[in-house]
């Protein structure tokens, strides 16, 4: 996959805060928004809904973006807020445990590949879930959203140096988990 060039749209809209093309913006950022939401949320439907809500919010809130913030930082700041709202809603209304599982149509590959993918995803997810919330969110912004250290710093309200130090520590923790066998 081609590396996401966040600065392309930031340069396209200009530093003066001119509104970029919304269609091109969503076409480029929507996969990344979904990837970030999916990495932070457990189920696919909720991630899809939050992605759509983020896109809808961008249509109206893009004009309120401050010029010193990049487009990517602004977009994923909105996405982070939406995900936080979902987490708060789940905390207030916990899901009920049912005996029968809903039928889900699996459109993925064969059972063996799906098992391997699920195994890999579950393994990584289990590793990430063992990290603190701040470190996990930071790695999601850097890996899933594809933000740079500076953009992640804008989203998290940190400095770029603090972000780099925090991500270094998070990676060291992950490596320690993998070396010790982790949860696998």
């Amino acid at each position: 996959m081609e590396p996401v060039v966040v600065e392309s749209l930031a340069d396209a809209d200009g530093s003066g805060g001119a509104r970029p093309d919304l269609d091109a913006l969503l076409r480029e950022y929507r996969p990344r928004i979904f990837r970030y939401c999916r990495s932070r949320l457990s189920d696919y439907e909720t991630a899809e809904d939050v992605t759509q809500e983020v896109c809808m919010a961008l249509m109206t809130a893009l004009d309120r973006r401050r010029p010193e913030h990049s487009v990517g930082a602004f977009i994923f700041g909105v996405a982070a807020n939406k995900i936080a709202m979902v987490h708060r809603a789940r905390y207030r209304r916990p899901e009920e445990v049912t005996e029968s599982l809903p039928e889900v149509v699996d459109c993925a590959a064969g059972p063996e590949e799906s098992a391997m993918d699920a195994d890999t995803s579950n393994y990584v997810t289990s590793l990430l879930n063992r990290l603190p919330e701040g470190s996990r969110n930071l790695l999601m912004l850097r890996l899933a959203a594809g933000l740079s250290a500076e953009e992640a710093a804008q989203v998290l309200g940190m400095t770029a140096g603090a972000v780099r130090v925090a991500q270094h520590r998070a990676l060291k923790q992950l490596r320690a988990m993998v070396d010790t066998g982790g949860s696998r």
Binding site: M1, P3, V4, L22, D23, L26, R27, R30, P31, F34, R35, R38, S39, Y44, E48, C55, M59, A108, D117, T120, S121, Y123, V124, T125, L127, L139, R142, L143, A144, G146, S148, A149, R164, V165, Q167, H168, R169, L171, K172, L174, R175, V178
Partner: protein
């Protein structure tokens, strides 16, 4: 003291930043298990993504509501006008009503009053219609003339003209004398144009025995009781006397009075 409490080296921090950038760009170094796992995890996330049909905002507003709106406005303006015109046409007395239905007054149906009993009638067979004074407003005809022709048995011509003015509320006493033309002042007037009022026999319905010179009623004997035909009596109700009532005095000679004439 743990490893995290130690201030990390700047080189390690930079290396970690580079490593994250490469993993995010799917350029994970081979042999690094963590990098491969993260790359596969990101690929799984990408496979779950379903691209939208189109990200272009589409207006869901229907096109072409202007025609329906215009039709609604036209109907809202036309219907009150049509109803107003209809209501104005239905109301009598309006100009539109006269234009559409003409200047004809509305037809009024009146119930005719029952005929009053004859005041002087004692002979029911002689036509009560001729003897009945028509007073009041029941009859629309302003005046009626009863022309009664007398057919005498002795052949003496005698024409009796019974005039009756239908003036409302005026009752005339019956003429007890012999009915003759002399009693009628208007008949002496040669200017009377009504042929039925002329003393000539031709003015009457009696066309059989009327010798010339029979107009002088003073020398003629009293006529016989006049046989009044019901037809003439009835027909006389529909005749209008315009010449004999010119002096304003209406005379009414009824059949009753003729019957009481001296024989």
């Amino acid at each position: 003291m743990t490893d995290f409490d130690i201030e990390p080296d700047l080189a390690e921090i930079g290396a970690a930043d580079t490593w994250l950038n490469r993993v995010a760009a799917r350029h994970a170094p081979r042999g690094d298990q963590l990098a491969v796992s993260l790359t596969n995890w990101l690929d799984n996330l990408d496979r779950e993504f379903r691209p939208a049909e189109s990200t272009t905002p589409v207006s869901i507003r229907r096109s072409g509501p202007s025609s329906r709106r215009a039709a609604a406005v036209a109907a809202a303006l036309t219907l009150p006008i049509v109803f107003g015109v209809g209501a104005a046409a239905a109301a009598p007395g309006t100009a539109l009503h006269r234009v559409l239905f003409g200047g004809q007054p509305p037809a009024v149906h009146r119930v005719p009053q029952p005929p009053t009993p004859p005041a002087l009638g004692s002979h029911p067979s002689l036509g009560q219609s001729a003897a009945t004074p028509q007073t009041g407003t029941a009859r629309t005809a302003p005046s009626a003339t009863s022309v009664v022709s007398g057919q005498h048995q002795n052949g003496v011509p005698g024409a009796s003209i019974a005039t009756r003015s239908g003036q409302a509320g005026v009752d005339h006493p019956p003429i007890s004398g012999p009915p003759s033309l002399s009693t009628d002042e208007s008949t002496a007037d040669p200017s009377a144009t009504s042929s039925s009022d002329t003393p000539e026999p031709t003015a009457t319905e009696d066309k059989t025995t009327s010798p010339p010179g029979a107009g002088n009623t003073e020398s003629t004997p009293p006529p016989q009781p006049t046989l009044v035909s019901s037809d003439s009596a009835e027909a006389s109700d529909h005749q209008t006397d315009t010449s004999l009532s010119g002096n304003g005095a209406a005379q009414e000679v009824t059949t009753e009075s003729l019957n009481e004439a001296p024989s």
